[in-house]
């Protein structure tokens, strides 16, 4: 990319990091090219902690309830958090990305790896806050050693991430050695042409000598990025050491870190084998437990799923015995890659590339959910989704939904522009992907997401809106991540209530509920749907990854009081937070940090005109069998359940039994909503009560005014 004229320049004295904070935020307005430092106040640290908390707070102050995702006042905030950047504890290099989502109209948050957030902080910034829109493509460059920020013209050059990130790493690094000091945030042409755009955050893999990328995948943050005409953001900082975060008590961090490294060394090979196959180990497990989305979530398993399990990827594709971490010190090392993959289709056909492939969510979304069971198609689709800047989860949902509509005769080739969208047609799925990249044909329509595609189909075909709602796997406008929740009431809630939309990072309870049966009663489920979403929010306040919490488990975990919470690892988090910040916190205070931000995000949804009970309603397919075929595929289970509930099913048709089951499951779901809202301190409409916001210390005048409008 030829970076041209410097449009704006800002020189600064890089702040020294004190106990995990730089105490400054870099604010950039692309409309008027303002670049300035904003103080991070003690109050911000106290109430919002960092990361996602800072992102939501800045965004709250930047937008009104009428702001749309593509209005200039919408922002993209990228922030690590106080723990972000320590090199010792696994999973400590994450960035939270916050913006108003084009899919949901509400704040979306993503938690993404790569080196950007640590290098940004060590360059003197806790957060990067970008507002406004450039009139033509720009890049933003932050040099943390020189203390220099520039906005530069970028009107020529590559359109897609794998080339952009590589070229800019080459350009801004002084030498091969220096490449590890660069991180590039970029997206691709698909992010421009759809609403499911992602941000790719790079790091340089010194072993492979390759630029690699991790994804802020959900909710269209890449679309906002390209709408602001940002081609790339580059941060450069040389000098990372184990003390760069200047922690208050390093010993506390070291002890926890070495304990965890040791556990991973001894136990990962016996547990999830993250170091060998990453999250792909889940494919086989989910298929075995009938939880793997197959053909638009109709089914939970498929005989051909054996073709896309981690064993296949490990044997034939994933490079072994390389430390695949996305920030220093992550010995869990789940960021697997396929090296020297020769691209088979599209504009990069014939190129040999290193693909960050493939995680569980991607395999399930692009493959089994579309009835495709071909590992090389997974790698191809993964490569193009990443480089075009498209969310693999949303993409897989869109294709699965379109394929089901096609198979049921709801849409035809006239609608799809000639694509034969039958389940299993990998060629058609890839063509749709390339169309999304180019913003052409049916791809342009489908790229608007499942919700808008459904509305389009209803308008064009007159199809039954109620049925299409039942089978379109989105809540709040965001596509569902990859777990079949039909038989787990707690997971239905986990998806449906999630602040940002149905992403499992907020509450993944399916095993706890359905397999391990640890939360049988409504009260148990409500408690889990209070505790876990709150607890899991904490990672994104700190710059941490969730995986080292429960994807590796201490040998003696089973004999603890609350094994599902992994108490020893929670204690590690208490220790490293205290070690970094010097603030002695308890486990309860850890949760309180999260609960504040969690409730604030809920209230933010209210500000955007959503966020009430009606927006927490899932499509029926999340709760049970939406079609005859689904019922019959699990008839034994459903018949048994109806009999146990006292329904007389003798001589009843499948349709009649479906109606009974639906009535029952919907009533259960409503009971769950009541129980969870109560436990969370919300009213029956899902609005946090005045008492709750006061207790949490987020009773700002505008918050109080907002929730009072909803008072029953």
């Amino acid at each position: 990319m030829t970076t041209g004229k410097i449009l704006a320049k800002y020189e600064y004295q890089p702040a020294k990091i004190e106990k995990g904070y730089a105490n400054q935020t870099l604010y950039i307005n692309l409309s008027d090219r303002t670049i300035k430092a904003k103080p991070v106040t003690e109050q911000m640290k106290q109430i919002f902690t960092g990361g996602r908390g800072f992102g939501l707070w800045y965004l709250w102050n930047a937008v009104s309830g009428d702001t749309k995702w593509n209005d200039p006042e919408n922002e993209i905030i990228i922030a690590g958090g106080p723990i972000c950047g320590i090199t010792q504890y696994p999973g400590s290099g994450k960035a939270a990305v916050v913006t108003l989502s084009p899919l949901t109209g509400c704040p979306i948050d993503n938690n993404v790896g790569g080196y950007f957030a640590p290098l940004l902080k060590f360059s003197g910034w806790d957060a990067l806050e970008i507002q406004g829109k450039a009139d033509k493509d720009v890049i933003i460059f932050i040099d943390g050693n020189k203390g220099l920020v520039t906005i530069e013209e970028a009107d020529e050059g590559h359109d897609d991430t794998h080339l952009i990130a590589e070229e800019l790493t080459e350009k801004y690094a002084d030498s091969e050695e220096d490449k590890r000091n660069i991180s590039v945030v970029s997206s691709g042409r698909g992010a421009e042409n759809t609403l499911i755009g992602i941000l790719n955050v790079s790091f340089y893999d010194v072993k492979r000598k390759a630029v690699r990328v991790k994804q802020a995948g959900r909710g269209g943050s890449g679309t906002v990025f390209r709408d602001k005409k940002i081609k790339a953001i580059i941060v450069k900082y040389k000098g990372v050491t184990g003390d760069s975060n200047n922690p208050a008590d390093k010993e506390k961090i070291i002890n926890a870190a070495i304990r965890l490294h040791r556990e991973i060394f001894e136990l990962d090979k016996l547990q999830n084998r993250m170091r060998e196959v990453g999250t792909a180990h889940l494919v086989g497990i989910m298929n075995d437990y009938d939880l793997l989305p197959v053909m638009n979530f109709q089914y939970g398993s498929h005989p051909d799923a054996v073709k896309i399990t981690s064993e296949v990827f490990r044997e034939k594709y994933f490079t072994q015995n390389v430390p695949d971490n996305c920030w220093h010190g992550c010995s869990l090392s789940c960021a697997k890659a396929v090296d020297n993959y020769e691209v088979k289709t599209g504009p990069y056909k014939g190129q040999k590339v290193c693909v960050d492939a493939a995680e569980y969510e991607t395999i399930a979304a692009v493959a089994s959910n579309c009835g495709i069971f071909d590992p090389e198609y997974v790698i191809e689709a993964n490569f193009y989704c990443d480089t075009y800047g498209l969310d693999t989860i949303s993409f897989g949902n869109i294709v699965g939904f379109a394929m089901e509509c096609y198979e049921r005769g709801i849409i035809n080739k006239e609608i799809t522009g000639g694509l034969e969208l039958k389940f299993g047609n990998a060629e058609a799925a890839l063509e749709l992907l390339h169309q999304m990249g180019r913003g052409e044909g049916f791809g342009e329509i489908a790229g608007q997401g499942v919700k808008r595609l459904r509305e389009y189909i209803i308008e064009k075909t007159g199809a039954d809106p109620a049925f299409l709602r039942d089978i379109s796997m989105e809540v709040k406008g965001l596509e569902v991540s990859m777990y079949v929740s039909k038989e787990s009431l707690a997971q239905q809630g986990g998806y449906a209530f999630a602040n940002k939309g149905p992403q499992h990072d907020e509450a993944w309870l399916i095993f706890m509920d359905m397999v391990n049966k640890q939360i049988p009663t409504f009260e148990d489920k409500a408690e889990a749907l209070h505790y876990f979403p709150v607890f899991r929010t904490w990672f994104s306040l700190q710059g941490l990854c969730k995986l080292p919490w429960n994807d590796i488990i201490p040998a003696d975990n089973a004999i603890t009081n609350e094994p599902h919470k992994i108490p020893a690892h929670v204690q590690n988090y208490v220790d490293i937070f205290t070690g970094v910040t010097g603030k002695n916190i308890t486990r309860e205070e850890l949760l309180l940090q999260s609960e504040r931000v969690f409730n604030f995000q809920r209230i933010f949804n209210l500000k955007m005109g959503r966020g009430t009970r009606e927006y927490d309603r899932p499509p029926f397919r999340l709760m049970g069998p939406a079609t005859k075929e689904e019922y019959e595929s699990r008839a034994e289970r459903y018949d048994k359940q109806l009999k146990e509930l006292g329904y007389d099913i003798e001589g009843k048709t499948t349709e009649e039994k479906m109606t009974m089951l639906r009535q029952y499951r919907e009533s259960q779901f409503e009971k769950l909503v009541d129980a969870v809202y109560k436990r969370r301190g919300w009213d029956k409409n899902g609005v946090p009560t005045l008492e709750t916001v006061k207790k949490l210390g987020i009773d700002f005048p505008d918050v109080v005014e907002l929730i009072s409008r909803y008072r029953e």
Partner: protein
């Protein structure tokens, strides 16, 4: 190469090796900064255990920044210019023979210099040629 080997049954736990090592590596006399560690072993029989790197090299592929390498003389060494102090090699050492100290960013690891051997009054540690 020559590497440090131990006969723990001869060890008296005097700690001279640790003093010599920390002096060689960091110019201080501080057992907590030594790359060889003598620990009391509870129970009967041999009273002490001696942990020191045997240069097996298992830690080399663990390092993601290529700071751990095999030097020309065969010893496994840490490039302090590259090491970011992540301590993955510490947790993944099969012999628990890599150490840390809060004031030192990089890991503390034997460089096979032989200072500890020279300091040992009983011959509990010695240098042995290995391939």
């Amino acid at each position: 190469m020559k590497m440090v080997k131990a006969k723990p049954e001869l060890c008296t736990g005097c700690g001279a090796c640790m003093i010599a090592c920390s002096k060689a590596l960091y110019k201080v006399e501080d057992p907590a900064k030594s790359a060889i560690r003598v620990k009391e072993k509870p129970g009967t029989g041999v009273k002490y255990e001696i942990a020191v790197c045997n240069h097996c090299g298992e830690c080399i592929p663990i390092c993601s920044v290529e700071a751990v390498y095999r030097a020309k003389n065969g010893a496994v060494r840490i490039d302090h210019g590259k090491c970011v102090g992540c301590y993955m090699c510490v947790g993944f050492c099969p012999h628990n023979a890599i150490f840390v100290h809060r004031d030192i960013n990089e890991t503390i690891k034997c460089i096979a210099c032989g200072s500890c051997v020279k300091a040992c009054p009983t011959g509990a540690i010695y240098m042995e040629e290995i391939n």
